[in-house]
C-alpha cells in the first residue's frame, strides 16, 4: 500500500494549468523529492494533497484516504509545513507548539520523542516570540509544529528556501532521522543538490512530472559525455560555445559552463576554436553529471 497515490491530477487557475495530468505514487516510509523551478506547480500539488484546495480533475489518496471526500480524516494524519512561515508570530515558541498540539487533540509530552532532536535546538528560546526567531530556527519550529501530532505523512513545501547552508544541511539531517522513524516525507525544493538526498525524485516543470526515478538512476541515465569549460573571459564564453558547431548544449553551472558535444567535435577542436576566438587559460574537463544536468536536459527535450 502506498502512502500517497496520485492519479491524473489537474488544476488550472484562470486557464493556466498549474497541474497537468500528474500521476505518481509514494511508498510508505519513503523520502520523496519534488524538484522544479518556481512556478512549476509544486505548491499547488501540496495544497491539493493537504486538502487546502480541490483538484479540477483526478484523484489523490493519502494513506488510502481520498483528499476530497475524507478531508477531515486526512487532516489528522498529515503534517504540513507551508513554504511561507505561518505560525503565530505573536505567540512564543512554546505557545505555538502547545497550541498546535492541542488543536490536534494531543499533548507536547506525548510525542516529544519525535521532535526532541529538532526542538532541543530551539528550546533555549522557548519564551521568545516566534516572529523574533532567525530563519533557521523558524524552520525548526515549523517542523516541530508539523510533527507534534505524529503524522503518518509529512508534506514540506520548500522548507529550505531562504535558509543558510548550514541550517539547510542540519534540516536534511533531521529529515533523515524522521525517515528512520517510519514517517513518509514528501518534500519540494528548487535546490538540485538536495535532490540526491531523496529516495526518489520527481522532476517537475509547467505542471507536469518530467521524470520520476531515484537520483542515482536519473544521473546514470544521462546519455552524453559532459564537459566543464572555463576560460579567462567567461562573460563571452557562453555565446562562443553556443555558436560553435558540434556543441549540442551549454549552460552556466556555478563557476563554469557545462557543455555536451556531438561526434563531429572533440576536445582538441573545441580548444582550438576557442583560442581562435581569443580565449586564454582554457580548461575543458570531463565531469560526471548531476541531477541539475539531467534536469536541464529534460527541459530541453520537453521543448521549453
Amino acid at each position: 500500500m502506498n502512502a500517497v497515490s496520485v492519479n491524473r491530477l489537474c488544476k488550472s487557475y484562470n486557464g493556466v494549468k498549474a497541474l497537468d495530468d500528474v500521476s505518481f505514487d509514494v511508498a510508505k516510509g519513503e523520502l520523496y523529492g519534488i524538484i522544479g523551478p518556481d512556478g512549476a506547480g509544486k505548491t499547488t500539488l501540496f495544497r491539493i494533497l493537504t486538502t487546502l484546495i480541490l483538484p479540477d480533475k483526478g484523484t489523490a489518496l493519502v494513506q488510502s484516504t481520498d483528499v476530497v471526500k475524507d478531508y477531515s480524516t486526512i487532516r489528522s494524519i498529515i503534517g504540513y509545513m507551508p513554504g511561507k512561515f505561518s505560525l503565530y508570530q505573536d505567540l512564543t515558541v512554546e505557545e505555538n507548539l502547545n497550541f498546535f498540539a492541542t488543536v490536534f487533540n494531543t499533548t507536547v509530552k506525548e510525542n516529544y520523542h519525535l521532535i526532541e532532536d529538532i526542538y532541543k535546538h530551539i528550546e533555549p528560546f522557548r519564551t521568545r516570540r516566534a516572529g523574533k526567531l532567525s530563519g533557521g530556527m523558524k524552520q525548526k519550529l515549523a517542523l516541530s509544529c508539523a510533527l507534534i501530532h505524529k503524522p503518518d505523512v509529512l508534506f514540506l513545501d520548500e522548507p529550505t528556501t531562504g535558509v543558510d547552508p548550514v541550517s539547510r544541511k542540519e534540516f536534511w539531517e533531521m529529515l533523515m532521522k524522521l525517515k528512520k522513524q517510519g514517517i513518509t516525507i514528501i518534500v519540494s525544493t528548487p535546490y538540485m543538490d538536495e535532490a540526491k538526498l531523496c529516495d526518489r525524485i520527481a522532476l517537475m516543470q509547467n505542471g507536469k512530472f518530467l521524470r520520476i526515478d531515484t537520483p542515482d538512476n536519473i544521473v546514470a541515465s544521462y546519455p552524453y559525455r559532459l564537459w566543464a569549460v572555463r576560460s579567462s573571459s567567461m562573460h563571452i564564453l557562453l555565446d562562443d560555445l553556443r555558436s560553435c558547431q558540434g556543441i549540442t548544449s551549454s549552460f552556466s553551472f556555478g563557476t563554469c559552463y557545462h557543455a555536451t558535444m556531438d561526434e563531429t567535435l572533440t576536445v582538441e577542436k573545441l580548444k582550438r576554436y576557442l583560442l581562435d576566438k581569443g580565449h586564454h587559460n582554457i580548461e575543458i574537463n570531463e565531469i560526471s553529471p548531476t541531477v541539475e544536468d539531467c534536469f536541464m536536459l529534460l527541459l530541453k527535450e520537453d521543448g521549453v
Binding site: 487546502l52 478531508y71 505573536d90
Partner: protein, 373 residues
C-alpha cells in the same frame, strides 16, 4: 478544542500592544467628548439688532432677547446695511430689525411688525435661530398685551381670544440632547469595535498565512469562527459596561429600563455586527480591502440608522433601506430602554429582527469561510 482556540485568541489580543488600549480609549473618548460635540442644540447665536426705534419698549425687547441664553448680542446698529456687513464678515448670524415707530405703533395700533433675517448657510443654525427668536418675540408680545390689559382695564376693549401652547416633553423633559445621544453612541462604539476587530483579525491570519496552518488541522470551520466571535463578544460587553458606567458618572444618565434587557439585546447585536465583519473578512484578501469595505458599510449603516437624523424624516425609499439596518433596531432599543424604560415584551419586533440578522450573518460567515475551495 474550542477552549484552546479561544485561549489563543485572548493571548494574541492581550499581547497586541494596541488593541487593549483601544478598547479602553475608544469608549472614554466617545463618552467624554462626543456627547458635547455632537450637540444639535443651537446655542451662542450671534445677533445683530437694528434698532430704528430706540425707545424703552424696543430696549426691553433687545434685553429680553439677549438674556434668553441662546443669543450673543453682537451689535446694536442704526441701519440694516451695517448689520448686513456683520453677516458678511461672519461676526453675526441673525438680524433683528425693529421698525422706527415700534413703540408708537404698539401703543396706538396695538400692532407692529419686526423683521428677522437669518444667515442659513448653516441650515440648522438659521432655522432654529429664527424660530427661537420668534418664540421669544411672541412671549414678549404676550407680556405687552397683558400689561396693557391691566393698564386699560376698560370693559369696552374686548380682550382678544388667544391660547398658548405649553408643550410637555415626555421621557426627556428638558430636551437634553445628551440623554438622547449617549445610548446611541454606545451602539456606534459597539459597532465599530466588535465589527472591525474580528474582520481584521481573520484577514490578518490570511495575510500571515497562519490560516493555512489552521486549515490543515482537524479544527472545523464552525469552531474556528466561534473562537473568533467569543473573544469579541466579551470585549463588547466590557465596552458596553464601561460606557454605561461613564454615562452614570459623567452625565448621570441611568437607564430607566432594566440592565438585563440592554445586555440581552447587546448580546444579540454583537453577534450581528461581528458576523457581518466575518463575512466581509471571508471575502477580502488584504487588510486594506477589509478595512475599506467595512468602512463603506459602517458609514451607510450609521448615517441611515437614525443616530443623527430621525428615520421618520427620511424619504420613503430610504426608510425602506433602513429596514435592513441592524443598527437602527439596536439604537431604537437603547433609546427606548434608557429614556422610556421599555421592557422586553414591548420590543419583541426589534428582538426578532436582530435575531434574524444575527442568524443570517453568522450562517453566511460559516458557509463562506471555505476550508477547501
Amino acid at each position: 478544542m474550542i477552549k484552546f482556540l479561544i485561549e489563543k485568541e485572548f493571548k494574541q489580543i492581550f499581547r497586541n500592544s494596541f488593541i487593549p488600549r483601544m478598547i479602553i480609549m475608544m469608549p472614554l473618548m466617545m463618552m467624554l467628548i462626543f456627547p458635547w460635540a455632537a450637540n444639535q442644540e443651537v446655542k451662542n447665536i450671534k445677533l445683530s439688532v437694528v434698532d430704528n426705534d430706540r425707545t424703552t419698549m424696543s430696549g426691553n425687547l433687545v434685553r429680553k432677547v439677549s438674556s434668553s441664553g441662546y443669543f450673543i448680542l453682537n451689535s446694536v446698529t442704526g441701519s440694516y446695511t451695517d448689520a448686513m456687513k456683520d453677516i458678511d464678515s461672519g461676526s453675526s448670524d441673525i438680524i433683528l430689525e425693529i421698525p422706527a415707530d415700534f413703540e408708537k405703533q404698539m401703543m396706538d395700533d396695538k400692532h407692529s411688525t419686526v423683521m428677522i433675517s437669518a444667515n442659513s448657510v448653516n441650515g440648522t443654525k438659521g432655522t432654529l435661530g429664527s424660530s427661537y427668536l420668534a418664540s421669544i418675540l411672541n412671549d414678549y408680545s404676550a407680556e405687552l398685551r397683558s400689561d396693557m390689559m391691566q393698564n386699560l382695564s376698560i370693559s369696552a376693549v374686548q380682550e382678544p381670544r388667544s391660547f398658548s401652547i405649553v408643550p410637555e416633553y415626555k421621557f426627556n423633559p428638558r430636551l437634553d440632547y445628551k440623554v438622547f445621544m449617549v445610548p446611541a453612541l454606545m451602539v456606534m462604539l459597539l459597532t465599530m469595535i466588535t465589527g472591525f476587530l474580528p474582520a481584521l483579525n481573520i484577514v490578518s491570519e490570511k495575510e500571515a498565512g497562519t490560516i493555512e496552518q489552521i486549515n490543515v488541522t482537524p479544527a472545523s470551520r464552525f469552531q474556528f469562527i466561534l473562537a473568533k466571535l467569543i473573544p469579541y463578544w466579551c470585549i463588547g460587553f466590557v465596552i458596553l459596561t464601561i460606557c454605561m458606567g461613564l454615562a452614570v458618572c459623567v452625565y448621570s444618565i441611568i437607564p430607566v429600563g432594566s440592565l438585563l434587557t440592554i445586555y440581552l439585546f447587546a448580546m444579540i447585536y454583537i453577534l450581528v455586527v461581528s458576523g457581518m465583519g466575518l463575512v466581509i473578512s471571508n471575502y477580502s484578501d488584504t487588510m486594506q480591502q477589509a478595512m475599506f469595505v467595512m468602512f463603506f458599510f459602517v458609514m451607510i449603516l450609521l448615517l441611515m440608522s437614525g443616530l443623527f437624523t430621525p428615520v421618520g424624516s427620511m424619504p420613503d425609499w430610504a426608510q425602506y433601506i433602513t429596514i435592513l439596518n441592524p443598527l437602527k433596531y439596536f439604537i431604537q432599543v437603547m433609546r427606548l430602554v434608557y429614556l422610556k424604560g421599555s421592557g422586553f415584551f414591548q420590543m419583541i419586533p426589534q428582538f426578532l429582527s436582530l435575531c434574524c440578522f444575527a442568524l443570517f450573518f453568522n450562517v453566511w460567515a460559516i458557509l463562506s469561510y471555505r476550508k477547501s475551495s
